[in-house]
Symmetry: C3
């Protein structure tokens, strides 16, 4: 049975201010311009204020001081976006199936999946373990000897190759590939591929985006820390180590054996060369190309990466370069004239 | 039974000039250097003219005035490439299977697929609708409550997640993922993921490339306009809106809630930051990084994006920068000398 | 039964120097800090020397002159990484299944797969040929009329579309897509898609990374030369030709009809525009954007690509641009003063 929520109960649960009616029932969420009666929305100000004036939502999460239409209950939060994310998880909880193995799933004789949900046409290979409460969706693949923790969700077409380990609560978006062979090569062109004998370990609550890849290590492990999130089409090479609570945006690529700290944020299309170390809390602007170690807490941009401020200054200066070329040519002419005069 | 085509009938059908024999039978197409008797080819001039001189094709589409070997029938078009594309669709129509559900397909009890083709090991979940004439290939996945229109083709390993809508004639190349969760996060590192409760709507005739991703909206919809084509490995984030007849080349990434107009062309590896608006008919050079709104019809390049002409000028100027550094050092020495003289 | 290896036998087999005990048994490999008794490791010097001092491995491959702990047998090689790659293939050979078709595999009536291994839920379509010794893993797809050579390995979720040809020993990592339609379009936005009627041919020993794509040609073939390796998320467009022993790192994109020679090395995120020719043995730095032909043996960087040395020089000069702007402003002031004096 669905839980019954009201403005007051939600405010109490999430620690929000509520200066309107506390007994308005809430049964879902929606965008400001689409939400209707019974639904909660949120407004972060700026260009969204106009939509706020016309919303038909029953309640809206806003910062203190923001005015809402009289028919709307304002719920107050310092970070409305964050508060709404938490509220949505309560008001519109993700659907989750009951445990059970679909008759068209293929489980090897030595695989275990008690208490888990395994959908049609999923494959779980020999010696693999799927913990209770995990959900293996259709066309997902769990390789030989792999471990999938409690509450994991492997969406359709996600792949966990042999021997990889997913702790509890890991989500793989569709097409995510965990444990493909790293791109190891010795002896240059015409050389040999290096056998990739390690595995991948994803800690608790990691999320891997659609068609993203985390390669197995050549030896040992590639490891992603707790709650770290990889966006779609991210590439993590063999032997990389990433800390906890790190966020890597789409198309980011991390080369072999690099180390990223915790709470790192990388903008889309960032690159990290092999072997470098990026400290905790570092921030990479979009399209940054990291070629040397980055200190904890540093903010960098550009390729090769440098202090964000320096990079911005260079980017601005670059716009003036055509003018500068003309200016220097003019200076040279004026100098020649002065020099001619002197003689 | 295959249709019978001749040079004359094809010319009439496509509005081409035909100054040779009109009764030459045509039964297929080929490249200039590979086509044989009964086949049609085309030539766009330049480096292809040499191959034209030796072709064994029975007919070749060329611009007016281009000479062809005597045994070859010239068909005249202002844009031979475009005319050939149309001709190939007639002479070598794509194979399409008869309707029917393979016994090894898995359809939920409440799914409907009457008149559609569903191949082995495809999955259609509860409440999903597949329209007559659609083709769901092996290993394709149609999520709960999703809608697949008439004449859609979901190639092997393409994925349509729950509740997404594909209008008629949409093609998903292998590995394309429609409706994965957007990369929504509130509160920074250590914060919470924002539930992604919206869906994706692909209008009539959209084509999505291999391993490309179109994420569902957090609320509301991500929408791609009619006949828009996404190349392989393109990433469209949550809540993006793209107009009709737009072409986005490989590795292009569009961040959350950005809006692209109709007939936009983006070169490979273009990036668009969240929330910006790109007008109709705008052109983005390869690897452009759009950070601000782009006017309709504008041509931009560089990162951050600026007028294409300015960017070109700066790129050229950059090549002269090492020389400029030396020139300024020389200027400074000469100035010092003049200043010394003066005193 | 596993083969019995000793330090002496391995040294003889691979041509390594062995100045310690020749009779130490070896049964596996490991990283310096993880290997234990009976295992082989390697050390390339530098930052790894510390781990070498504490290793519990029974033998370590090192360059001549490098000291190892007394309990460890040193095996000498000029390139320890290369020698280790070869040794690992002997000591830890990849697991390979026995031939046979799983009852839950789906083979069309006219498909042939004698002597091959076809796992559960793999699909082999009408007229496709899978050679003896090939291994088609779960959820892999082999399209109509496709050919898969001896010893090929199609990992889970890899796709070979209709009519494509894989010679012997090709490996497709999970999610690799061979033969999707090329992004061919005529007549600009609002124009028509060009039917893609060609195929893909992968020569002997090619390896394609996870979620990488090799598109079929519009006419004729897209061809990848022997032993060439594509990293994850690489994109090869229609009609491209790549030579042998070439290495393309992650996110590299090659546009339509470009030609790459043999033994080319491209760093991650390199781009090649359509139609250009890159000679044998050329090297592309990471993120290079090739817009014109590149000579054999050349080393290039930057976008647009130029000589690597010139690009480096410009990159360094760019860092001095803000200072240069100030310097030129100062020069202009001093000039004005001199000019004022003169009059």
């Amino acid at each position: 049975m669905a839980e019954h929520w009201t403005t007051g109960r939600l405010a109490a649960e999430l620690g929000l201010g509520c200066d309107g009616a506390a007994d308005v029932p809430l049964c879902g969420v929606g965008a400001l311009d689409a939400a209707g009666p019974g639904q909660l929305s949120f407004c972060t100000g700026g260009r969204w204020l106009r939509a706020l004036g016309h919303t038909r939502a029953s309640a809206v999460i806003v910062e203190s001081g923001v005015q809402v239409p009289t028919a709307v209950v304002p719920l107050r939060a310092a970070d409305p976006r964050l508060a709404f994310a938490r509220a949505a998880a309560l008001l519109a909880p993700a659907w989750w199936p009951r445990p059970g193995v679909h008759p068209a799933a293929v489980l090897a004789a030595t695989a275990t999946s008690q208490g888990a949900t395994v959908d049609a046409l999923a494959v779980v290979e020999e010696g693999a373990t799927v913990a209770p409460g995990a959900w293996i969706q259709s066309h997902a693949y769990v390789g030989r000897g792999a471990t999938v923790g409690a509450g994991c969700r492997l969406m359709p077409h996600s792949v966990v190759m042999d021997g990889c380990v997913l702790e509890a609560g890991v989500w793989l978006q569709p097409g995510a590939i965990i444990g493909a062979d790293g791109f190891g090569h010795a002896g240059g062109p015409g050389g040999v591929r290096i056998p990739q004998l390690g595995h991948v370990h994803l800690e608790e609550g990691v999320e891997v985006g659609a068609n993203a890849c985390v390669d197995r290590a050549a030896l040992g492990e590639t490891r992603i820390g707790a709650r770290t999130r990889l966006d779609n089409l991210v590439q993590i090479a063999h032997g990389v180590r990433v800390g906890a609570d790190t966020l890597l945006a789409a198309f980011t690529g991390v080369a072999g054996s690099a180390t990223l700290g915790s709470r790192v944020r990388a903008g889309g299309r960032s690159s990290v060369v092999d072997g470098v170390v990026i400290g905790d809390d570092a921030t990479l602007a979009a399209a940054t190309g990291v070629t040397k170690d980055v200190e904890a807490g540093a903010r960098v941009g550009g390729a090769p990466a440098r202090r964000y401020r320096d990079w911005l200054r260079e980017s601005v200066a670059l716009r003036q370069l055509p003018r500068l070329l003309r200016a220097v040519a003019a200076v040279e002419r004026r100098l020649e004239e002065l020099e001619r005069d002197r003689t």
